[in-house]
């Protein structure tokens, strides 16, 4: 945050305008209360006020770097006391010297200068406190605005992430082909069609009901994977086989919602979509100390030539893992012959 007085010409004019106003009040008091001649009253009020205005400018830095949020209260108090004493001494010393020098023949005024020192001291302290408070208020306001801006940005970022996630979760291609299967089954097997509608509805509900940052239990996530695989099984029949071996010991593990789904979508995409042979997707869950390992293995056709660059889904998962657990080493994938391996480690 820059110095609020030097923000623009308007703020400079405003700052010195206020001080000239204060000088005006002092001028009127000196004329009517103390009956000083015009030039003396003008000189006294201008010198004292404008000098204070000038030496109060660096006060900003005392305030700026002694904010209550930056720790140690005693340090702040010390900073302000030093700055106050320095400011008052310079202020009264310089103003006194100038005025005493200019009006050295005016004995009445010289006496007044000396007598008024305690009063000027008090007004100096009061002015210091006032200027300091205004500076603190400005900083507070600025920080508040910044915080609001940051929050708004974070919020929109989160929304965007959520939106992207939803987009990637519900692949329209998957949705329309599933609906086509349902359309087909209504004739040949209405019971199965109804079953498929319910599975698809549950799958969609699970996908849209949760936010980007919410966690779920592993059995619940696998329940949704099962739905997904069952839907794909209706589409592809015996070409797809799957085996979900998730033991009781994995049931307490928490996992970011919809984290696993893209892995199975990949297995289907690169396995079932690209191969004319049977494809099996095997899942195993193992609990270690402090983590749970999930391994997903699928067959694929190594001769199939990739049509589009893969890896978007995997990068998405890595990013989510990084955001959730602050680790980059949780997801590993590799190929062995015609089998594709995924190992996902979830910290407790």
């Amino acid at each position: 945050m820059q110095h609020p007085v030097f923000k623009n010409t308007k703020s400079i004019v405003l700052y010195f305008g206020i001080w000239i106003l204060l000088a005006g009040i002092q001028f009127i008091i000196l004329i009517f209360q103390y009956h000083f001649p015009l030039e003396i009253a003008l000189a006294d009020s201008l010198v004292f006020n404008l000098l204070f205005a000038a030496i109060a400018l660096p006060m900003w830095f005392t305030v700026r770097y002694s904010s209550p949020s930056s720790g140690w209260r005693f340090n702040i108090l010390f900073n302000h006391l030093t700055s106050l004493v320095l400011l008052i001494v310079i202020w009264i010393g310089v103003a006194y010297s100038i005025l005493a020098l200019v009006f050295q023949n005016e004995t009445v005024y010289n006496d007044f200068l000396t007598v008024s020192i305690p009063m000027r001291l008090i007004s100096g302290v009061l002015l210091y406190v006032l200027v300091g408070l205004i500076y603190y208020l400005l900083i507070y306001n600025f920080n508040l605005q910044e915080k609001l801006k940051m929050e708004a940005r974070l919020h929109s970022l989160l929304k965007e992430t959520e939106l992207n996630m939803l987009k990637s979760q519900i692949n329209p291609h998957f949705l329309f082909n599933s609906l086509n299967s349902i359309s087909s089954l209504t004739v040949t097997d209405p019971e199965k069609a109804r079953d498929m509608v319910i599975k698809l509805s549950d799958f969609l509900r699970y996908s849209v009901s949760s936010g980007a940052d919410s966690m779920t239990s592993l059995p619940e996530e696998f329940e949704n994977i099962k739905r997904y695989l069952e839907i794909e099984k209706v589409r592809f029949g015996d070409k797809l086989r799957y085996d979900l071996r998730v033991g009781e010991n994995c049931h307490n593990q928490k996992i970011p919602v919809m984290l696993l789904q893209p892995l199975y979508e990949n297995a289907i995409k690169h396995g079932v979509y690209e191969s004319s042979d049977q494809v099996k997707i095997e899942t195993e869950c193992m609990v270690g100390t402090g983590y749970t390992d999930i391994s997903i293995v699928n067959d694929f056709d190594p001769d199939a030539v990739p049509r589009v660059g893969a890896g978007v889904g995997l990068n998405n998962i890595r990013e989510r893992l990084r955001l959730t657990y602050q680790r980059n080493d949780l997801l590993k994938t590799w190929k062995e012959g015609n089998r594709y391996f995924v190992r996902l480690r979830i910290p407790e």
């Binding site: 329209p172 291609h173 329309f176 082909n177 609906l179 086509n180 299967s181 349902i182 359309s183 087909s184 089954l185 004739v187 040949t188 209706v234 589409r235 592809f236 029949g237 070409k239 979509y273 690209e274 191969s275 004319s276 056709d301 199939a304 030539v305 990739p306 049509r307 589009v308 660059g309």
Partner: protein, 253 residues
């Protein structure tokens, strides 16, 4: 008209329920007979070549070969009705040019319209291969870059990943595709490949040559007007002044 006075149909789709619904809808047409079904691009191509159907219902995303790649390999394609969940393939261009394009899931009425259109074409004896061909071109005209190229040598189909291509050379009406191990002929123009191969990697260095810069070794100065490109395997290719400029830009020289 066929001897048995029925039009022959082949259904190519990798999802059994998707084939099933076409079978169901087709029951209403006594003059249409399903002679074959396939679940992937290779067997679909084989079925069309062997059974010579009059009309094919064709999915786009399938194992081995996509519907587009399959169609591209046919010398004398039958009438094609695409049946797919993809809507990003310039549907509008399709609806203007193809016999029809069915977006899954589709109603009996919508399917009926497609069949009527196809029957009209069959009865009139117009196969409109040009229409189908232009559909392929308009679909290919999308900014999508090729990731692989399907070629047919006698009866064998090869799918070449573009990153394995070293360079392409014009050869009459064909283009010769040179890979690391082999070379293949494809009935396409140089312009087609210039547009559909990744311009960051494939540079047209000459009217009749496109190279893959990954396989390039050296640039040699020939004389004032021409340059030679030395490939990693030792092949020397001529570059025109314009091609040399393009190459320099691509390599940020």
């Amino acid at each position: 008209m066929k001897q048995d006075s029925k039009y022959h149909i082949v259904i190519i789709d990798d999802e059994p329920p998707a084939r099933q619904i076409i079978r169901d809808y087709l029951k209403a047409y006594s003059d249409l007979e399903i002679v074959g079904e396939s679940a992937d691009g290779f067997s679909g191509l084989k079925a069309i070549q062997e059974l010579k159907p009059d009309l094919v219902f064709l999915d786009i995303q399938m194992p081995k070969l996509t519907g587009f790649e399959l169609l591209d390999l046919l010398d004398d394609p039958p009438l094609i009705v695409f049946s797919t969940a993809f809507d990003q393939f310039a549907i509008k261009a399709f609806e203007m040019n193809a016999i029809d394009y069915l977006l899954k899931p589709y109603s009996r009425d919508r399917f009926g319209q497609a069949v009527e259109k196809a029957l009209n074409g069959l009865r009139a004896g117009t196969k409109e291969p040009s229409a189908v061909k232009s559909v392929i071109d308009s679909v290919d005209g999308q900014p999508d870059l090729l990731a692989r190229i399907a070629v047919k040598i006698r009866h064998k189909v090869h799918v070449i990943p573009v990153q394995e291509i070293r360079y392409l050379e014009a050869d009459g009406d064909y283009v010769t595709i040179h890979t690391e191990k082999d070379k293949f002929l494809k009935e396409k123009t140089m312009k087609y490949f210039e547009i559909h191969l990744d311009p960051a990697r494939f540079i047209r260095i000459h009217r009749s040559t496109i190279i893959n810069v990954d396989f390039m070794d050296k640039l040699e100065y020939y004389d004032k007007e021409s340059y030679a490109i030395l490939m990693k395997d030792g092949t020397r290719l001529k570059a025109s002044t314009a091609g040399y400029k393009l190459l320099k830009e691509a390599l940020k020289l």
